[in-house]
Symmetry: C2
């Protein structure tokens, strides 16, 4: 059955495990593509331009804003992050589901511009676990950790704006929940009607 893909927006605080979750999802589903964000932040070790992000200068990024080339963009910890439009539109029209892993502010912008998008918030199982996971990373100093924890809390306050919430306790269950949501959303009448048009025409013409 050929149909236009879903635009799926995924957010969650640092420590929600959304990275691992989305990686496992891509191993289970053939039909999804991940949007690659543009950013002005410096690449971390092992991050590759065009794979993990498109790394751009502030001037280049602001040029993209002016040219209306971004689906949404946002500033986070003093760096720009944005989603290029062209790749998304092309993939959706080819029938792929597109996963956007973006900030809560970015998600709100996408939902406003594309009410048909499906928004999912990923939560760790508890607040204690959130603290542990953020501390456990140990790759940054305590100021960064504290800032990240505060950021996590302010992000979670957006949770009521999302369509769905997945609690990432058991990762296999969480991946399965994500697959359920994608499958269910494909069965909404509004998305099915294109594929059913021949059938429905016959039912009406035959009256």
């Amino acid at each position: 059955m050929l149909c236009e893909g879903l635009l799926v927006v995924v957010s969650g605080p640092s420590g929600s495990g959304k990275g691992t979750l989305l990686k496992l999802l891509s191993q289970k589903l053939d039909n999804i593509r991940y949007s690659i964000s543009v950013t002005t932040r410096k690449p971390r070790v092992a991050e590759v331009d065009g794979v993990h992000y498109f790394f751009r200068t502030v001037e280049q990024f602001e040029e993209m804003i002016r040219n209306n080339e971004l689906l949404e963009w946002d500033k986070y910890c003093d760096n720009y992050y944005g989603t290029p439009k062209s790749y998304i539109k092309k993939s959706l029209s080819e029938g792929y589901d597109i996963i956007l892993e973006i900030t809560v502010e970015g998600a709100m912008n996408v939902k406003r511009n594309f009410p048909d998008s499906v928004t999912i918030f990923i939560l760790p199982p508890s607040y204690d676990e959130l603290r542990n996971r953020i501390h456990g990373r140990g790759t940054e100093n305590s100021d960064v950790i504290e800032k990240r924890l505060e950021k996590a809390k302010s992000e979670i306050n957006y949770i009521n704006k999302y369509d769905y919430v997945i609690v990432n306790d058991d990762i296999e269950i969480a991946v399965n929940d994500m697959i359920s949501i994608l499958n269910a959303e494909k069965h909404r009448y509004c998305r099915m009607k294109k594929n059913l048009s021949d059938f429905l025409k016959e039912v009406k013409l035959d009256d």
Copy 2:
């Protein structure tokens, strides 16, 4: 995780295979209960009162209407059909998902009274297949078959009022689709927030 169950409304024309679908679903999920309808139609062979239906007289049924004991009721092929309230409310509060297999008119009434209910329409794979399935039953005369086909068409015209559509071509896939929809609906923020209240309180109090 304890939470109130889902009220799931399933409709579909004669020949959509919804009976088989719901039977398989009950074998795969522990947590569902089927509502038992009250009807004034005569029992068919092998139908048991209190299992397949509660069989009642017209007078008894009209008494239930007057006493407001029915969630919805409807007349179909000259017989009354209705859904008793008490069993549904009890089961939902115990955390069971309740499946209501009812007519399109009944479904519209339930959705109006319980906007939180989840409505699913089951379709056969094509109009030709619908005709074949209705003819293939061979248990009734051609007048009844023609009446049933006309009824099927008028029912399908309600499809755009339903939340979800499942095309019942491969029964295993259709059952899986139904399970996806139930699982996804449980992950809607509005249904998750009760279970998340401790977490969300901590995030806010800690600000």
